[in-house]
Assembly symmetry: C2
Homo-oligomer: 379 residues x 2
Amino acid sequence: MNLVDAIGEPALVRTVWDDGRTARFHHVWLRDNCACTECRHPTIPERTLDSITVPLDIVASSVAVTGGTLAVGWPDGHRSSFGSAWLAEHAYEPGFRPVVDEPRTLWRAADLAAAPESDYAQVMGSDEGLLGWLLQLREFGVSFVRNTPTVPGTVIGLAERIAFIRNSNFGLLWDVQSKPQADSLAYTAVPLTPHTDLVSRTVQPGVQFLHCLVFEATGGDSTLVDGFACADELRRSDPAAFDVLTTTPIPYRYHSDDCDIAARGPMIRLDPEGELDEIRYSNALMAPLAVDPDRMTELYRSVRAFTSLLRSDEFTFRTRLDPGDVMTFDNHRVLHGRESFDPQSGPRHLQGTYIDRDDLLSRLRLLGALAPRSTTKPA
Amino acid sequence: MNLVDAIGEPALVRTVWDDGRTARFHHVWLRDNCACTECRHPTIPERTLDSITVPLDIVASSVAVTGGTLAVGWPDGHRSSFGSAWLAEHAYEPGFRPVVDEPRTLWRAADLAAAPESDYAQVMGSDEGLLGWLLQLREFGVSFVRNTPTVPGTVIGLAERIAFIRNSNFGLLWDVQSKPQADSLAYTAVPLTPHTDLVSRTVQPGVQFLHCLVFEATGGDSTLVDGFACADELRRSDPAAFDVLTTTPIPYRYHSDDCDIAARGPMIRLDPEGELDEIRYSNALMAPLAVDPDRMTELYRSVRAFTSLLRSDEFTFRTRLDPGDVMTFDNHRVLHGRESFDPQSGPRHLQGTYIDRDDLLSRLRLLGALAPRSTTKPA
C-alpha cells in the first residue's frame, strides 16, 4: 500500500492511498514523530526531541508526497519525512490497519493428541528452529522440547535462547522434587491442581520451563489446561460468571519466613480491546476473598464455574514427561498441574525456570514474526 | 477488638463484636478458609483443601464463640476455628475494617529542602536502619542513602537488603556514564527530562537505585519530581486531562538490535479504589500515539498538561549527588532526570540496579510495617 497524496487541513494532514482510502494524521502527531537525527538519536532507540517544545497548534507549512514518501515542512524550517510503510503501520484512522488476529488456537484435551513439539538441537542451533518453537508457544501456549540433555542447568540455556531469566523468591533455577523443608507444594509429592505460577506477584512469569531430568517414580503425570479455551467456554456457557471473573480483583498471597508477597488481579483478565489476556488462578494461594457480602455467593459460584471447566476431562491434557523433555508453556494462558506420585517408588526430578512475556514477544518481534515489524523510525 | 458472639443464618454466620458491631461471613467462605492442618499445609504457606470439594451451599452445623475464637462444626464432622484478630483483619463487611490511608506525603520541590536520607551502615547493619529507610521510600517515594562505600557493585548489596535484583535488558547492574556505543540516552551526557524507567515493559521496576561512585564533571545535577503530586494537582486543575490520562493506554517501545520491547499503559494509573497507583512516563520512549482521530488533539493536550506540571520549577527537586550517595526512589511514583554535563570536564560515574515493587512491599510486611500483618492462617 502506497501513499499517493496528502492534503494539509487546519488540524491535520489527510493522506490518500493507492487503494483510494484516506488516513488522517494530526500536525502535532507528525511533528512529534519526526525521525530525523535531530529528533531521534541516530543510534539509540529514543526520541531526543523534547515534545514540550512543539506547539500543540503547530501547522505544517508544506506537505508533499514524492515516491510514496510524505515530506512535511514546518514553520521554523524544520523538515520531516515519513515513508508509506511506517505511516501505514502507525495510522490511527479507524479501520485503516487490518485487525490482525492473535495467531492463537484454543484447544481441548483431544486437540493435543499430537502435542506441539520441538527438537532441542534445532531450537538451540538455528533461528528457524527457535522461531518454530516460539510460534508453537504463541499459537498453542505450549510446546514440548524433546531430546534435551539431562544435564542439570541445561534449561537455563534453553530459556536464554529467548531472553534473560526472570528471578523470583524461588531462585533463577528451581528443583522440583519431593524434598524435606519444602516451601512450596510443588516440592512435595502431593497432587497439584491446575494453576498458574507466581499468582501472588503483580505480573506472573510469561513462559515457564519444566525440564525432566529423572523420572522413575510411579504416578506424577503432568496436566495442562488451556485457560483461554476454558474462559472462552465460560463466556458462552455462563456469561454472568465470566463478567464477575473479569472484573473482580482476586487476592493471592504467598507468605513464608523469607517473603510475604501479595497481589490481586482478575481471574480472567481482558485487554483494552476485550480479548483474553491473562489467567491468574491458584486454588492453593488464593487469599480470603473480600467483596461486598451481597456479592460473595455469586463470586464463589463464578469461581466454581470456572474451576469446574479447568478440572474437566474435556479440557485436561495429561502426559507423562520423559527425561529429556522440557515442557514450555505460556503461564498467562495455560495452567499446569500434576498427579501425585510415590517418592518411595523412585526419583522424580524436574528443573524449572521462567522468563517474562515481554521478552517472549520481544524475541518474536526480532525474528520478524510479530507486528510491529518495522523500526520506530519513520524513515 | 474481640469477637463475642456468632449466629448461624441460612447463608452466613453473623458475628458480633465487643464494640457492638457485626460482620457477616458466608458459610462457604469460612469452610474455604479453614486453616487446620488438613486444609492448609502445616509448614508450606498454601491451601491444601481443594475448594471444589466444598459444596457451595454448605451450612455450618454448629457455631460457637469461646474466648474470642469462633468454632465452627460442619455436617461431615470437620471442625474449623478462627481467631478474632484474623477474622477482624479479613472481614469483608463494608466499613468494618478501618480504611488505612497509604502513609504517603506528596511533595513539591520546597518540601524536600531536608531530603529524606538514611545512613548506609545503619541500613546494612540493623532491621531498624533498614525499616527507617524503607518507610522513607514508602512515604516520600525517595530516600538518599549516604556514606555508601564508593566501591563498584556495592549498590547490589544495598538492594539485596530488600530482595533479589530485577534483571532487564540492561543487566543486573548498569553503569551510568557517558560512553561510546551507548544503547540508552542515560549513557550519554545529554540532559534527561523526568521519566520513569523501563516504561516499555508491562511492569516498571518498583525501586530504582542510583549509586554515585565518581562525580567530577561540570553539570549533571539530578532532578526528581513526585509524579503523584503532579497527578494530584492535575486532577484538581484539569480534571478532563486527568480522565484522559487515567483511561488511555499509552504505547511505549524500546527497540535495539538485541530487543524490541513494547507495552502500553495509562500515563497515570489508578488502582481499583481510584487511588493513584503508578506513573508511566517517558518522552524519549513514547511510541506513536494511536487513538481515534477525534480524540488525538485532546490526548496531546492532556499529555502536555501533565508534562508541564512535571517540568515546573514548583515540582522539580534538584540536587547534585556526591560520591557515596545512593539515590533510591519509587519508580512507579517519582520521576527522575538529570541536567546535561560536560564529559570533558571530568568523570561522572553512577551504577544502578532495580528491584520490583512486590518485593519492597514484601520486605515492609516482614518488618511488620504494612498490613496485612497477621499470617494467612486464621488460627
